[in-house]
Symmetry: C2
Subunit: 189 residues, 2 copies
DNA sequence: CTGCGAGTATACCGACCGGTATGGTTACGT
DNA sequence: ACGTAACCATACCGGTCGGTATACTCGCAG
């Protein structure tokens, strides 16, 4: 939110693309900068010229991932009329998003590795979780629900819980249950 | 569940204790076996004599963590009479547990690092999430709630969501909101 | 007395870690 | 024609990674 994503050179783009795939798929510490450079068809030198450090590359990976996730949810929501249906559409978007990805929430995963440090990724992760809550709060208000703040918190809880259980719990069916629970929350408000 | 925790030699115990603290606090890949051995006041040789590999030590760390978490929840529940109150007591136990730990769910964190591999920790993590859901299902039945299965899933969603938001989201207050939401679910069943 | 499990101490292995250094080659704008 | 940004290629740095090897001491049970 603070600053837009920087414009990247061609090799810089390939580096960020490769890093994003590798970080999401295998984790941050599991991926070395040598591998990233090789997968991008360039060199470590270029990586450090463009991004300065691995930590900053990691933070950029998450910032771009957040932006893409937001665009994805917004575009899915645009197909749904405002109101309670649009609130629930977020769960459909989540189900679709997770089915394409397979390793769960990249922000939760990243926090598992950098939490408790001063890594530049930490503030990006916190901001993403705050954005999600505000997404629900805005939609709840838009739908004219009573107690939009309380409702938004509950919807957010169900959303994050569904992501975790679908991934670490190995139970993708829970997404439908979360959507049904959210529908109950919305109907009661 | 499959097998009880093995009896450990004195040095083995110190190794598992040191590894548990370090893995939980800093993550799995961030901690090397040399550091674990040093912190345990012993040697890498003894570590490999006792545990065979780092992966097996990681799995054991999670198995013992699960057992201790279960004992903690069970003991807290024993202080509460059976019924709806006991269902909600799990959220109080979670709040107390998390306040002591500070790095969130060790199983979710571990899955962020080993998910998508054949690491022996994966099945331990899945079993832990299944245990949590069954905990809620058992308590819901004990309390005579209608649709105990559906209720258990919703309580589990709120539980995992609260853990994630309190940790990665940096918002510990959400635990009270999750408890209140759970109370609403219980009251409606 | 012997054998064995447990532990200590140290050295080593190849591989990889994040990061730096040097030097050279394009392509483009002024 | 010149500067410069972008990129490539390669070699190197100290340090750590998971894991193995060798050789030793101790206490205990047969």
């Amino acid at each position: 939110m603070l600053e837009p994503l920087p414009v990247l050179t061609p090799a810089g783009t390939r580096l960020l693309d490769a890093a994003s795939t590798l970080f999401y798929e295998h984790g941050i510490r599991a991926v070395g900068v040598d591998l990233i450079a090789e997968r991008a068809g360039t060199t470590k030198k270029t990586l450090y010229d463009r991004f300065g450090s691995k930590d900053r590359l990691v933070a950029l990976y998450l910032r771009r991932r957040a932006q893409r996730m937001h665009e994805f949810v917004d575009s899915r929501n645009a197909d749904v009329p405002p109101g309670p249906a649009r609130v629930l559409a977020v769960y459909d978007a989540l189900a679709e998003w997770l089915s394409m990805q397979g390793r769960g929430c990249g922000f939760v995963n990243a926090y598992a590795e950098v939490g408790g440090t001063d890594h530049p990724a930490v503030e990006v992760i916190r901001a993403e979780k705050a954005w999600t809550r505000e997404l629900f709060a805005g939609l709840a208000r838009e739908a004219g629900l009573a107690e939009p703040d309380r409702v938004a918190t509950e919807l957010h809880l169900l959303y994050e819980g569904a992501t975790v259980i679908a991934t670490a719990g190995g139970d993708p069916d829970v997404l439908a249950a979360a959507r049904a629970a959210a529908a109950r929350v919305v109907a009661g408000a």
